[in-house]
Amino acid sequence: MPSKVEGWKDEIYGTEVRDHLYEFAEEGWDAIPEDEHDAWFERFKWWGLYHQRKGQESYFMMRVGVPMGRLTPEQLRVVGEVAREYATGPVENPEFGGAYADFTTRQSIQLHWINVEDIPDIFERLEAVGLSTIQACGDSWRNIVGSPVAGRDADEHLDVWPIVEDLHEEFKGNDLYANLPRKWKVAVTGDTRGAGQGDINDLAFEPAVKEIDGEEVKGFNVRVGGGLARKEPRFARDIDVFCKPEDVGTVAAGLSALFRDHGDREDRFNARIKFLVDEWGTEKVRAVLQDECVEYDLPAAGDNLRDQYDYNAGRADAPGDYVGVHDQHDGDHFVGLSVLVGRMGADEVIELADLAESYGSEMIGVTQRQNLIVGDIASEDLDDFLGESLLETYSPDPHPFLRGSIACTGTEYCSLSIVETKNRMVRYADWLKKNVPVPDGVEDFHIHLSGCTASCAQPQIADISLRGMKTRKDGDPVEAFDVGLGGGLGENPQFADWVEMRVAADEIPGYIRNLLAAYDERRESGQSFRDFVADRDEDELQALADPEETDYEDPYMHNTKMTWYPYADEDDLDASPAPTDPQDEPLPSDD
């Protein structure tokens, strides 16, 4: 029997949800029938709106999908202005203030505290500059990821930006693919770095070459069924298909139709295509694609370029991100800036947009490591640009612990998270910077902190993986983490080994200090942390270091999930002002 969510989607889903959103916006929060909340909030996701967690009723997270993370300075400025004007709630965040934007691991932008009444105005502002929230959440084609510097990067196989623009145009708002069994995440990689991180997507186009009719053709190999969620991580699997650039749309349409028609609509926990690939095997996926979904003979896979991949690959010989100054093929430079945990104040977003524009940049990129890139900086302007005061905070040459830290949304807003995340990661990074010597040669050290098994911070593919948990300390429940080591992508992707379980959150910094001391002392010369971990079995890894309390202080040890907002002075659920009007004043209760 189809799931209840499928029933709601059958009634109303896709583009038509927008008309209803506008009606609710006109009439206000109370117009959403109370006994239809669950159905409507499920449908709103299709338009990028996610109802915030318990205690924050009437507030929404709004996600803006940015194909390949590419923004113009004008678009970024509008994001900052919308954040400043609308993404404000009843209480400020102690680390980030009252209005900010989150840059996500899938190259999108998230704003919080959005009221339904403001949605039409926000849509108008965003759409005027070509941005949209369409299909940013929900069961459909999500934001297409890839390298934002496609067409600029000197280390490039193919410029995939025109391909991604075509896919975005074709599959957003397309009724044929509007209602899939579950989310559908696509990565298109045209660089030689592996920066699309295709291995963790439902569908990945990976750079490849193949000889066809005596000519070497540049194109893609196709992989299907990657994803990290729910303790069921899978890397995308090679289905032995080579795809010419002009066939990407056809193959993408075919595979998303295959998913639409054969994915599990009865059990949402079994719906992602990774489970269908488990069940069928890659040969059947290929056969069904060939027989039912495409009308030309699919060529066998070509030669891949995976041995060159260095993005989040934990290699000692190459940085694993875009931070710093890089060459473009036109002689200009792109400059990657570290944005700790991906969160930037609204005023700074606007400042960065203005700054980029003043240097003639036409592209600001959001990366999958929650950082930003400013493109098109001329050689003669480079020193001036690097000397700008905003780059003291968002640095192209950050401390390795700040540079490599990623965190998901966490209990601040998210229903699923078990623990507080972003503010804690900021505190961790700050403590590590002050107290832990960086082993020689380490430029970026990747710590991914995820609040739960949904794995939005990609915890299984980091040097150190932190996944939200609970433990007891002196009998009382406290927030904690499972700790994994040695994950990463690259030629041979590897999930982290889960080594220390249920470590109290305030003992994590001490653990990392002890672990890095052991690494520094025992590693072979020049050995990367990932290789150091790969050389050891689980017992050896466990013996390397112990968790330890230090002078690090963690203000979020109590159950932040049971607050209405973890940083409010009065944080009890009962103290919540929600639901509120757009001015954050409580609505009259009808009890």
């Binding site: 029997m1 799931s3 209840k4 969510v5 109370e34 006994d35 239809e36 909340h37 669950d38 909030f41 499920e42 996610y50 967690r53 318990k54 969620a229 729910r230 303790k231 009865e266 949402r268 926990f269 209990t411 998210c414 229903s415 699923l416 998270s417 078990i418 623990v419 739960c452 098994t453 949904a454 948990m469 609970k470 433990t471 007891r472 429940p477 904690a480 379980m501 249920r502 159950n559 999930k561 049971m562």
Partner: protein
Amino acid sequence: MVVSVHQLDDGAWLSVNDERTVPVSQLWLLARHDICDCEQADFLAEGFVEVGVDWPDVEGRIAGQCIACGASGVTDWLAMGRVDRETGAFRKVVPSSVHVPRRRTKLATPE
């Protein structure tokens, strides 16, 4: 009286009559369970897998793990609370008191 129950947002919470009632992240004390060998499992709720109504009880199966021993699993059916016959109001159980999961004979509401 009709009671509608859902688990939503990837099993993040139990909704009763379109109101979010029981979230993940709480510790449930389980006795006579088959999650692990602990006499009483100190069970962290990480996700609601199935929910249903066995009037007047609202029940669910929870994915999670015992934080005493580390074993992961999905519980049998647990009573999450009860709907008041007169008013329809939902009263949830206290997770930290002892709960005994049980197998179900009737079909639950599919999610």
